[in-house]
């Protein structure tokens, strides 16, 4: 009993319960048809949301006002540049990955430069820089749609017994990032800054260096995701990051991370990402038109957040 009560008090339980309920509602409608296929697809797409959300979660944990709005532009830039560099050549997969990560890191450095040196609030800094990076991506990849190397495309779409290999890799990475958050000085410092930046500074923690590293890391996760999404969907596209802005923030918050900072939660990301994808699938299955689907998506997201966030004092 105490174990159950302990489980129910976990901040991520709401996301998983919601995802399960939505999946059951979908499967009930189709009378069991395609229930497994939906889960496989959900795992694939959830992986991308989770990857960008990990970076966003670290940034949000830094405290009020910290958020990275340049994720979509970073994904597009990293995807476009790496696809062009690889040019469909299997031998270039690793250099391509390095370049995608490098693009992301560059965006992070630029963002933090604006935040630290020019003292621009992160929201505006990452927003303005995203305009620049989007322009760079447009100008760099104008009219080109280069196919990813076949090996990369195969890897990102590889499914074993109904489980996408990419999702397994994503879960391992999530676990690693969870250990980093809870067990390393870096992770503890991120949390400490989010709880009280002034206290963290007075305690002698390297606040600036850790914030810098966090923004760079968030950029790298966006770069990695841009690279993988390009491989998955047969090339980079200029609007490919658009849906990940809401996704990255919503997944973090629904997953039980405090938007006020100082309290992060990694397991919840998967539940929340599955929930979002299954929600869209369910509304599609029920055959609603585009308008009603969007209204319901918005209302359900708000409802989930209103229920999930109410349990602990945040703000």
């Amino acid at each position: 009993m105490t174990a159950l009560r302990h489980l129910l008090r976990k901040p991520w339980i709401g996301a998983y319960a919601g995802a399960l309920a939505i999946w059951l509602a979908t499967v009930a409608f189709t009378e069991g048809q395609g229930g497994g296929g939906v889960l496989t697809a959900a795992l694939s797409f959830a992986t991308f949301s989770v990857l960008v959300a990990i970076g966003q979660m670290y940034v949000i944990t830094l405290g009020p006002g910290n958020v990275d709005l340049s994720i979509p532009a970073t994904m597009t830039l990293a995807g476009a540049v790496s696809m062009k560099v690889m040019d469909g050549n299997n031998a270039m997969i690793v250099p391509g990955l390095a370049i995608a990560l490098g693009c992301g890191a560059g965006v992070g450095v630029f963002n933090y430069g604006l935040i630290r040196l020019l003292r621009i609030p992160p929201i505006i800094a990452t927003l303005s820089s995203s305009f620049l990076f989007l322009s760079a991506a447009i100008s760099y990849s104008r009219g080109l749609r280069i196919k990813p190397p076949p090996l990369l495309a195969d890897f990102t779409t590889w499914i074993v017994w109904g489980v996408p290999v990419l999702a397994v890799a994503g879960m391992v990475l999530t676990f690693v990032m969870s250990v980093i958050l809870h067990r390393t000085i870096f992770g503890r410092t991120v949390t400490a800054i989010g709880q009280n930046a002034r206290a963290a500074r007075l305690a002698g923690l390297p606040v600036d260096r850790v914030r810098f590293a966090t923004y760079v890391m968030c950029g790298m996760f966006a770069g990695l995701t841009g690279y993988l999404v390009s491989g998955f969907s047969g090339g980079a596209a200029l609007n490919m990051g658009a849906e990940y802005l809401l996704a990255s923030i919503a997944v973090v918050v629904i997953g039980g991370t405090s938007v006020a900072g100082g309290f992060a939660n990694l397991p919840g990301l998967w539940g929340a990402a599955m929930l979002l994808f299954l929600l869209v699938t369910m509304l599609n299955t029920y055959g609603f038109g585009a308008g009603i689907r969007m209204v319901l998506t918005g209302v359900i997201i708000i409802a989930v957040i209103a229920v999930a966030s109410g349990r602990r004092p945040s703000g």
Binding site: P121, L127, F131, A250, I292, V295, G298, S309
Partner: protein, 313 residues
């Protein structure tokens, strides 16, 4: 004395200078813009953007952010181009409903202590979906009175400029010079002390969000008056423009430190920046990027000025 006047108005000075600089640059590139018709063409889209910026400012005043504003303006535009023209009563009811929903969102954010970014991102789906339901494909027709108002040939300078002036003055008087305005700004500055002094935070948030809904509605109406037809996606970029306008105008994200006059000027500056870039014959690929660069430049200037101020003066 002059020094203290400058110090007191420093918040408004930089936006004004940025606006004048970019206006002069536009005139220099395109001297024909220096006329009644030229000014009208340059600035007529500034009015809907200024309304949206003021709407965003109300939300920022209470330390929240509205990421659904662009979608909401699009919803209003769709309602105005369909129901308002054909069945005015239904149209007005729908628009009033929009303002009430805004107040309800404010209440929800306050009561459940929710992050406004996430709630309003969710709301952006709701507004976009509703707009698509009202007007599935771009089209419709603006009500005649709205078209007549927006194309009204006023003496001396175009209607837009009078409207922008009136907007700045009215909101300035209401929010900066009235007792109620001071309390509402105090909610952003120090919510606890406002609450201890006996005012209701819930009511304040609802009022500010309702005002955001009201001015967002004006934004959509003026936009439809100019474009004459509606489209659900017509104003999606207004979300970002409005935030940028508030910040360009000297507002800050927290603490209730805002400037309505600055916000209107910020919106005008952003509108002009678009024309300026097209006059420069800049590669279209870099148009968006250049807007980002202008934003960064102005904010950098602000930091330099603030530092100089802190050092002495």
């Amino acid at each position: 004395m002059p020094a203290s006047i400058i110090a007191r108005n420093a918040r408004i000075l930089l936006p004004m200078l940025s606006f004048v600089a970019i206006l002069l640059a536009v005139f220099w590139l395109q001297p024909r813009a220096m006329s009644y018709v030229g000014l009208n063409l340059l600035l007529n889209l500034a009015l809907p953007i200024a309304f949206a910026t003021i709407a965003q400012m109300f939300v920022i005043t209470v330390n929240d952010l509205d990421l659904s504003l662009g979608a909401y303006v699009g919803f209003v535009a769709c309602v105005a181009a369909t129901w308002l023209a054909e069945q005015p009563l239904l149209g007005m009811a729908a628009l009033a409903g929009g303002v009430l929903v805004y107040a309800a969102v404010g209440a929800l954010i306050h009561l459940r202590n929710l992050p406004s970014i996430v709630v309003t991102l969710g709301m952006s789906f709701v507004w976009l979906g509703l707009a698509i339901l009202v007007l599935p494909t771009p089209g419709g027709k603006a009500p005649d009175w709205l078209r007549a108002l927006m194309t009204w040939k006023t003496p001396l300078v175009p209607f837009t400029i009078y409207a922008l002036l009136a907007l700045a003055v009215v909101v300035h008087l209401g929010l900066m010079r009235s007792a109620q305005g001071a309390v509402l700004r105090g909610v952003g500055g120090n919510p606890r002390s406002v609450e201890r002094a006996g005012w209701s935070l819930l009511k304040a948030k609802m009022i500010m969000f309702a005002f955001a809904g009201l001015f967002g509605m004006f934004s959509g109406l003026s936009l439809v008056g100019l474009t004459t037809s509606g489209d659900a996606n017509i104003a999606l970029r207004y979300t970002l423009l409005s935030i940028a306008g508030v910040i360009l105008g000297g507002g800050e994200f927290t603490g209730g430190r805002i400037s309505p006059i600055g916000a209107v000027i910020g919106a005008m500056t952003l509108t002009l920046a678009g024309s300026f870039l097209s006059f420069l014959r800049l590669d279209p690929d870099w148009q968006i990027g250049a807007q980002g660069a202008i934003l960064i430049l102005v904010l950098a200037l602000r930091v330099i000025i603030n530092r100089a101020e802190a050092r002495g003066l």
